[in-house]
């Protein structure tokens, strides 16, 4: 059964089609879900893509988190469904309280748009299960507000519980502890600033993001498999 990945579209999202193309290239199926929907339909995983949801007015993700679709996203996450927020999607997940901390303006106030090296820190998440710890992945970043911050207690918890998913090898934005991506306690919700969907083919400059998208498609496939088939 083909994994179905829902890609949530807010007004101002601009990476949704890249995510759809990446998921399809890696054997999954993908569909767009508009922010006004209150149900998700029959999807096995969700991606909140990059962009500037609601113009990023007030703060990045601040308005988007109150979109009608977000209650369904929260319920899906609470039920163990794989949810990945990429770039602006990560910002929305922190504003929604599905991931701890916040993303603020880059140190030095520079918009950064280049390919960076990420180190995979844990493989027990829906985004990294097909990778290996220590893998170095070349993946593009493209953001002004990717500077991850949280209080000391939260950082200690993230470290102790192995919830820092990917780190920058060279910190491009001032992020605390070189954090590029984190996961929730259940490890089914992951947020990251880099764009794996833009690095799924050597023609795009790197195919290193494919292992991350494939992890998500795999996680979605398992969820899409009826329990009786999974047990056999």
């Amino acid at each position: 059964m083909t994994a179905r990945v829902g890609v949530v579209v807010f007004p101002g999202s601009n990476c949704e089609h890249d995510v759809v193309a990446a998921v399809r290239a890696l054997g999954g199926d993908a569909e767009l879900i508009f922010h006004t929907e209150t149900t998700l339909g029959d999807v096995d995983a969700l991606v909140l893509p990059g962009g500037f949801a609601h113009g990023d007015y007030l703060r990045t993700g601040a308005i988007a988190r109150f979109s009608p679709v977000m209650d369904a996203v929260s319920d899906f996450a609470a039920g163990g469904g794989p949810v990945v927020g990429i770039c602006n999607g990560f910002q929305v997940l922190t504003e929604a309280g599905l991931l701890p901390g916040a993303l603020q303006k880059n140190a030095g106030l520079r918009f950064v748009c280049r390919t960076v090296e990420l180190r995979v820190e844990t493989t027990s998440t829906v985004l990294t299960e097909a990778a290996r710890v220590g893998d170095v992945l070349r993946v593009p970043i493209n953001h002004f507000e990717g500077n991850y911050v949280c209080d000391e207690e939260t950082l200690a918890t993230l470290r102790a519980d192995d919830r820092i998913v990917v780190r920058y090898r060279e910190n491009p934005n001032g992020s605390l502890d070189d954090i590029a991506g984190i996961c929730n306690e259940g490890r089914n919700v992951v947020g990251l600033m880099p764009h794996p969907e833009r690095a799924i083919d050597a023609m795009l400059g790197s195919a290193d993001g494919a292992v991350l998208v494939r992890s998500l498609v795999d996680a979605a496939s398992r969820r899409g498999t009826p329990a009786e088939a999974r047990a056999s």
Binding site: L58, R59, A62, F66, T94, E95, G101, A102, Q104, K105, N106, A107, G108, L109, N147, V149, C150, D151, G174
Partner: protein
């Protein structure tokens, strides 16, 4: 019911590096002002609210700040309220 004029001062939380403040602080000496420190940039939000009394207005704005207008991970806020005259333009 009465109308209240609110001025909400949103400030960067102490202890969290303020990239805008840091950048401005580095720019000022270039113009000759080398005696400035502790620069921090926030935002100011102005609004009017109709409520039964001042405590009710204050409680509502407080909740609005916590749920939408500020992000408690990054920002603190303070609130100044002024009661508008009964015939204030709305």
């Amino acid at each position: 019911m009465a109308w209240f004029d609110a001025r909400i001062d949103v400030t960067h939380r102490p202890g969290i590096l303020d990239p805008q403040g840091a950048t401005i602080e580095r720019a000022l000496p270039a113009l000759g002002w080398d005696n400035v420190s502790e620069v921090s940039v926030g935002k100011s939000i102005h609004l009017r609210v109709e409520a039964a009394d001042e405590p009710a207005a204050r409680a509502q704005i407080d909740e609005m700040c916590r749920r939408l207008l500020t992000n408690p991970v990054l920002e603190d806020f303070s609130l100044e309220l002024r009661t508008l005259a009964e015939d204030a333009p709305r």
